[in-house]
Amino acid sequence: MPDGAVHTRYGSPADSSVGDFVALLKPRVMSLVVFTGVAGMLTAPGELHPVLAAIAIACIAVGAGAAGAINMWYDRDIDALMTRTRERPIPAGRMDPAEALAFGVVLSIASVTVMALAVNFAAAALLALSIAFYVFVYTVWLKRRTPQNIVIGGAAGAFPPMIGWAAVSGDVSLASLAMFAIIFMWTPPHFWALALFRSGDYARAGVPMLPVVSGVTETKRQILFYSLALLPVSLLPYALGVADAIYAVGSALLGLLLVAGAVAVWRDSGEVAAKRLFGYSIVYLFLVFALLILDRVPLEP
C-alpha cells in the first residue's frame, strides 16, 4: 500500500459476506464490459460454438471483475477518503484486504486459463493484457501520478470488444482496433464529467484528476475536445466496412448529442450539465455498441 495510508479498521475473513465479494467485482462496470465484449464477438467474422461463446463472455466478465477486486485492494487507503467509495467492502471494514487480493488474483488466473483452454490463446493473451494494464499501468502507476491517468489507463476498459473479436476470429484486426478506439476516446469525457462533480472527493484523496490539477475550465475544454474527436472515430467501423449506413447515421447522431452535452458542460457554471453528460455518456456507449450488434442481425429470415 502506498504512503499516506488511512488508519482504517479492516475486517477479518469472518466479517465478509457473499455480497461483499460480488461488490469487489464492480458489477455495474462489468455490465458495460460484457456488452462491448459481446459486440466484438457478434461483429467478428467466423463462428464460435454457443457454449464456448458463453464461456468467453463469462471469462471477460470475471477477468474485468478480478481486475476491479485487485484495484480495490490497492486503493483501499484512498477509497476510505472518498464519499463515492468509502462503503466498499475493504474501507468499510467488512473484509480483510488480503482476502480481496487473493480473490482478485485467483479469478484473474482462472479467467485467463479458462479462456486459453476453452476459446483460444489470442483472446486469453488480450484478457491477460487488459487485466495487467488495469492493475499495473492504471492503478499502480498512473492513477496517483498524472491527470492523464484515465486517458492512458482508459485503454484497459477498451479491450473487451477486441477480446470478443479475438475469441471468434482468433486475431486482432483494424475493425476490432476501431472498437477499441471508440471506448478509448469515450473514456476521458465520461470520467472527467464525473470528476467535475466529484472533484472534492478526488482532492481529499490526493488523486490528481484533471479538475483538481488543471481546474474546471481546462477540464471542460478537454471534455469538448475528446467529444469532438470521438465523432469521426465512432464512424471507423462504417469506414472499415463492418457496419452499414444505419450505424453511421445512428452513431453520428448519438455523437452529436454527446458534443451538445459537452457544450452544455462548457456553458454551465454548476454541476447539473456535468451530471447529465456523465449519465448520457453511459447511454451513448451502450447505444453505439447496440447499433453495431443490430447491424449484424439479419432483418430477413
Binding site: 465478509s16 459476506s17 457473499v18 465479494f21 460454438h49 457454449v51 464456448l52 479458462v114 476453452a118
Partner: protein, 43 residues
C-alpha cells in the same frame, strides 16, 4: 445475548459463503465437462 446474536450472524455468513464456494466448484466441474464435450465434438 449480543455475543450469541453475533455468532449466529457470523455462522449465517459462513454458511452462505460455503454454499457459494460449493456452487462455484460445482459450476467449474460442469464448465470443464462442457468444454471437453464441445472440444471433442469439434474434432
Amino acid at each position: 445475548m449480543s455475543a450469541n446474536v453475533m455468532t449466529d450472524e457470523l455462522n449465517k455468513r459462513r454458511r452462505a459463503k460455503n454454499l457459494a464456494l460449493g456452487l462455484v466448484i460445482g459450476g467449474l466441474c460442469l464448465l470443464f465437462y462442457l468444454i471437453t464435450i464441445v472440444r471433442m465434438g469439434a474434432e
